[in-house]
C-alpha cells in the first residue's frame, strides 16, 4: 500500500521539478482517497486547479516513480493526459525525491540474502 507520506514526497518532487523548469512556484499535491481507492493529483498555478485521478491498482503497477513523475510534470506543463504504463523496473517502493534545486535523490532498498539450508539444521 502506498502511504500518504510517500505521496507527499512525490508531490514535493513534482512541484520542485516544475519550479525548476518554469521558474515559478506552483501548488502540487497527491492525496490518497482510500474510500475510492485512488490517488488525486492536484496542480494549481494561478486561479485554476487541474485534477487527475489514478486508481491505486494502476499506481501499484507503476513501479518507476521517476517515469511517473516525468509524466505528471508533462501533464501539468503541457496539459497532456498522464501516462502510467511504462516498462517495469526494479525501482523500489521509495520514489526518487527531487529537492528544491531539482537534484534527484535515489534510494535502493537492498533486500537481504538468505544463504544456506534454512530450517534444515
Amino acid at each position: 500500500m502506498i502511504s500518504q507520506a510517500i505521496l507527499d514526497d512525490f508531490a514535493k518532487g513534482i512541484a520542485a521539478t516544475i519550479h525548476a523548469r518554469i521558474n515559478k512556484r506552483v501548488g502540487y499535491s497527491a492525496k490518497l482517497d482510500k474510500r475510492s481507492n485512488r490517488v488525486v493529483f492536484t496542480y494549481k498555478a494561478n486561479e485554476l486547479a487541474a485534477h487527475c485521478t489514478i486508481p491505486m491498482d494502476e499506481l501499484a503497477k507503476a513501479n518507476s516513480w521517476q517515469a511517473l513523475g516525468d509524466s505528471m510534470v508533462a501533464k501539468a506543463l503541457n496539459h497532456l493526459d498522464p501516462v502510467v504504463t511504462f516498462a517495469p523496473t526494479n525501482e523500489p517502493e521509495v520514489p526518487v525525491f527531487i529537492d528544491q534545486k531539482g537534484a534527484r535523490h535515489f534510494t535502493l532498498k537492498a533486500d537481504m540474502g538468505r544463504l544456506g539450508l534454512f530450517g534444515k539444521g
Partner: protein
C-alpha cells in the same frame, strides 16, 4: 525492494577462507545494465566492467555487526550514500565485493533499475541495507 542476487562463487569462497566478513573491507562497485554480473560466471572484481568513479564519493561500506545467533549468521552493514560532485557515469547494478580479499571477490549484487541512471552534481544514491535482517544471513 531490489532483489539480492548471489554470486555463486561466494559460497565456495566462504568455505575456502577467502572472506572474513567481520573484519575485511567491503566495497560497492557499479556497472551498467549491459554489464550486469551473472551469478555463475563472475566471481572477482576483474570479471566485471565497472563504470568510471570520477565525481563519486567513497564506496566503502561500514560493517555494523557480523555475528551468529542460535546458529544463524547475520551480516549487518550501515546504509551508504553515494554523492555526485559532478556528472557520474551511468549505472544500474550495485555490486558488493570484498576489497581485502586477494582477488577482490564478489559477494552479491542488486539491480536498481532496468535502465541505467546518470547522476548529476549534488545528486545522491542511497544504498539502504536492511538494518534488521542485514545484508545477508547464513544458516
Amino acid at each position: 525492494m531490489a532483489t539480492f542476487n548471489k554470486i555463486n562463487g561466494f559460497v565456495e569462497d566462504l568455505a575456502e577462507k577467502v572472506h572474513n566478513l567481520g573484519s575485511d573491507t567491503l566495497t560497492i562497485a557499479l556497472t551498467t545494465k549491459a554489464n550486469a554480473p551473472t551469478a555463475g560466471t563472475t566471481a572477482t572484481l576483474a570479471s566485471i566492467t565497472q563504470i568510471s568513479y570520477t565525481n563519486l564519493s567513497s564506496r566503502v561500506v561500514t560493517t555494523s555487526t557480523s555475528a551468529q545467533t542460535s546458529g544463524t549468521y547475520k551480516l549487518v552493514c550501515a546504509d551508504l550514500t553515494l554523492t555526485a560532485s559532478g556528472t557520474v557515469a551511468a549505472f544500474a547494478e550495485v555490486v558488493l565485493y570484498n576489497d581485502t580479499s586477494t582477488n577482490k571477490s564478489l559477494i552479491c549484487w542488486w539491480e536498481y533499475s532496468t535502465t541505467d541512471l546518470t547522476m548529476a552534481n549534488t545528486e545522491t544514491f542511497l544504498i539502504d541495507f536492511d538494518g534488521t535482517n542485514g545484508v545477508l544471513q547464513i544458516a
